[in-house]
């Protein structure tokens, strides 16, 4: 039982594995929390705006602000609350940024485990933190850099920043604590990558080393993959890798399935015969679980047939029921979920722009209420690089300066004025 026991003791199994309905409940809760915080922000901004619009407190709007400020005559109370993002829209955005994360990782040519870890971090972070509270575009560089560290693939921060335009070390490190806390400090992620290598290795070795007559499952598998089983497995191996580094990441399979199951699903997508044959060989009714040599010895020892059958029954009882009947539909459903990831690649840019615009309105109430200086540091309206938008340093207006000070203070600013 060692294998399953080890996996069930990981945080991935204990805190990051859910059934489908649980996962959607969590996403809904997170979305609701994000929506609440947006509502609060708007309420606050509305109060500020109405006080700013009274003739006594006319604060001059700095001309440097690039925001389209509405005329002060607009009554802030008349502007309705913005429409908040739905859980599906949040998910779309997260998946879009996962794809960006994969692209970015390819620019650095990071190994696939760094890439995978980064994607899982982003997904896990936004499982409990609404996109409406933390825009993923501010987090992806931080997440990628954190992933290089947790996967032991060292790259100096200055080097890292050189490769992405307008990225500074401060920007990368700014959100590191938030992200690390957001993934609950669970940095070790069990990927299906090494599992896949192991599985393929075993399969190839068994196929190449001639068929032992003791193992009918292997004979059947070889017949199924004829004429050249080894070649076929090697081909499937290559394809499987690409599934593991894209489709497996940009979907929810990490929450619903264990690494070996994901690996088998990727193999299933690459070559259904190989995957199905492999499962039937290893986990079918007569599977030997690789214990060929041991069994033969036992047979020799058992002289009378009665003893032999008793031994076999005992072994069967120890093994438990065959896993294959349960595993095959499971792997098939996992594979189906992985193919669903392709939908996210096909999402039109217009749709993404629409969501981002909506989000922009949610996050920057000041701009739409005419409260004067923009307190929100993000400047999503302009199509800048995601990294630049976080800075807010360039704006010299008081509000920004104050906020920056508050953020830089290790103990936070005064409680007054921070809700």
């Amino acid at each position: 039982m060692a294998e399953d026991q080890l996996y069930t003791s990981t945080t991935q199994c204990k805190t990051w594995s859910f059934g489908p309905s649980t996962l959607s409940t969590i996403r809904q809760n997170t979305n609701a929390a994000g929506t609440r915080s947006i509502r609060r922000g708007w309420k606050r901004a509305r109060v500020e705006a109405s006080s700013a619009n009274t003739p006594l407190a006319t604060t001059p709007i700095p001309s440097s602000t690039p925001t389209p400020t509405p005329t002060p005559s607009i009554d802030p109370a008349a502007i309705p609350d913005p429409e908040s993002l739905t859980p599906a829209e949040e998910l779309t955005l997260v998946h879009y940024y996962m794809l960006r994360l994969i692209d970015m990782s390819d620019v650095f040519s990071f190994p696939s485990n760094v890439k995978s870890t980064a994607c899982v971090f982003l997904s896990r972070f936004h499982l409990h933190h609404s996109v409406q509270a933390y825009h993923p575009k501010h987090l992806i560089t931080t997440i990628l850099f954190l992933a290089t560290k947790t996967e032991n693939h060292y790259i100096p921060l200055s080097e890292f920043c050189k490769r992405i335009p307008k990225l500074t070390p401060e920007l990368v490190l700014k959100h590191e604590f938030t992200v690390a806390g957001g993934v609950r400090w669970d940095f070790d992620i069990k990927h299906p990558l090494r599992a896949a290598e192991g599985g393929i290795m075993e399969l190839l070795t068994s196929l190449a080393n001639g068929v032992s007559t003791n193992d009918p499952g292997l004979v059947a598998l070889k017949e199924r993959l004829a004429p050249n089983p080894v070649r076929r497995v090697q081909d499937a191996h290559g394809k499987m890798k690409s599934y593991l580094t894209k489709e497996a990441l940009v979907s929810d399979v990490y929450y619903h399935y264990t690494p070996p199951q994901i690996f088998l699903a990727a193999l299933w997508l690459a070559d259904k015969d190989v995957a199905e044959g492999y499962i039937e060989w290893r986990f079918g009714e007569n599977a030997t679980m690789g214990r060929v040599a041991k069994k033969r010895k036992k047979d020799k020892k058992a002289k009378n047939p009665e003893e032999e059958t008793a031994g076999a029954a005992e072994e069967a009882a120890k093994k438990g029921p065959a896993l294959a009947p349960k595993l095959i539909p499971l792997v098939a459903s996992c594979a189906e979920m992985m193919t669903g990831a392709r939908e996210y690649e096909k999402i039109p840019v217009d749709e993404l722009k629409r969501i981002d615009k909506k989000l922009h309105r949610c996050q920057n109430p000041q701009k739409f209420l005419g409260a004067g200086s923009s307190l929100g540091s993000g400047d999503n309206g302009n199509k800048k690089l995601p990294d630049e938008a976080v800075t807010g340093v360039k704006d010299k207006d008081k509000g920004d300066e104050k906020k920056r000070k508050v953020e830089e203070d290790p103990f936070g600013g005064t409680l007054h004025g921070r809700d």
């Binding site: 294998e3 929390a33 915080s37 922000g41 069990k190 599992a195 192991g198 075993e202 070795t205």
Partner: protein, 362 residues
């Protein structure tokens, strides 16, 4: 002026004396004043302060005598409407009255909530119980939800009367057992020490006697023969003594191993019912693999380079270890099927995300 001077010096002397008194008595402030009769310790150095655990208002002994000798009466402190009885008054143990009160509350709670760990199926549940008890204690100490907390305690007391009594009896028995054990040990130590003293004294006595005998022998006609005789006698005596000592030490040892009191053997020792299992350092973790048998060699052209690459091997990299790990991971978790929890269970604790998600947007 001189008059003033004299008086102030007299006062200073008096204060010094009072302070000295106070220090000698080991009690607090020298100018302490009884809040009820306003008489100060300066005038009455032997004044003792008492408190009543009803309301913990401090007053001097004479006030207590004066007010409560006739029977229960209201607390003289303004605004306190507690009825106090004289016999409940006692000396304050702790200087801080809050600490005094907390200790009393804890004593009372401990009497009622005397469940033990073995009453619970697991440590977690026991810890939950302890936490709840601590909450009750905290509420009582800080006067939070007093009425509901009291109601809770009474309800608990009513429903757990039998087990409270049982546990109290158990604790008493344990205390008795410990006390008896301690007394017995002390007695044994005393006897061992006595034996040692006796041995020492005897040895000393023998030595002196031997010396005297020697002197006597030297005075005799043929000293050599006499001296040899005396020495032989002394040796015989000392070997006899040694034997005697050993026998007594053995007796003592036997007495130490046997129970000193009959009832000690009959006592129910605080035992756990389960027999002791052999210690398992890995807590039941099974080394044998369920799904595979590791082979000595795997075909993997990708790893062939590493097999002979000195730069890899020098660092301690072993291809076999990689293979083992990879194979292990290929099956680690294959038999786990992740499903939704049953409906009655809460899906996930949502309190985790709220504070973070509500933070200022980045």
């Amino acid at each position: 002026m001189p008059f003033l001077n004299a008086s102030s010096s007299a006062t200073a002397a008096a204060i010094a004396r009072a302070r000295e008194n106070a220090i000698n008595r080991g009690s607090g402030d020298a100018d302490e004043i009884c809040p009820v009769c306003k008489s100060s310790r300066y005038l009455n150095p032997n004044m003792r302060f008492l408190v009543n655990p009803e309301c913990y208002h401090k007053m001097c002994e004479s006030c207590v005598d004066r007010l409560f000798s006739q029977g229960p009466s209201q607390c003289p402190v303004v605004g306190c409407d507690k009825i106090l009885r004289k016999q409940k008054f006692r000396r304050q143990t702790f200087e801080d009255i809050q600490v005094e009160r907390e200790v009393d509350v804890r004593k009372r709670i401990a009497k009622t909530f005397n469940k033990r760990q073995e009453d619970f199926p697991s440590l977690n549940e026991f810890n939950d119980y302890l936490e709840e008890v601590e909450t009750v204690t905290f509420n009582l100490i800080n006067s939070v939800d007093l009425s509901s907390t009291e109601a809770k305690i009474v309800a608990f007391e009513q429903s757990n009367k039998a087990s409270i009594l049982q546990n109290a009896a158990k604790s008493a028995q344990e205390a008795q057992f410990v006390q008896a054990q301690r007394d017995f040990d002390r007695e044994q130590h005393r006897r061992a020490r006595e034996l040692e003293d006796e041995i020492e004294a005897e040895a000393k006595r023998d030595k002196i006697e031997h010396k005297a005998n020697l002197l006597k022998a030297l005075e005799a006609d043929n000293p050599d023969a006499e001296v040899a005789k005396v020495n032989k006698q002394a040796r015989k005596k000392s070997s006899m003594r040694k034997e005697n000592q050993e026998r007594r030490a053995r007796e003592l040892e036997a007495a130490r191993n046997a129970p000193a009191f009959q009832f000690l053997a009959n006592l129910n020792k605080p035992t756990d019912n389960e027999p002791h299992k052999p210690y398992d350092p890995v807590d039941g973790y099974d080394e044998t693999n369920k799904y595979f048998v590791y082979r000595e060699k795997y075909d993997n052209p990708w790893l062939d380079g590493a097999l002979n690459d000195k730069s890899m091997l020098a660092g301690g990299y072993l291809v076999s270890q990689y293979c083992e790990r990879a194979i292990f991971e290929a099956f680690s978790g294959i038999g786990c099927f992740i499903e939704d929890p049953p409906l009655e269970e809460a899906p996930f604790n949502a309190s985790f995300d709220t504070p973070m998600a509500d933070a200022v947007s980045v």
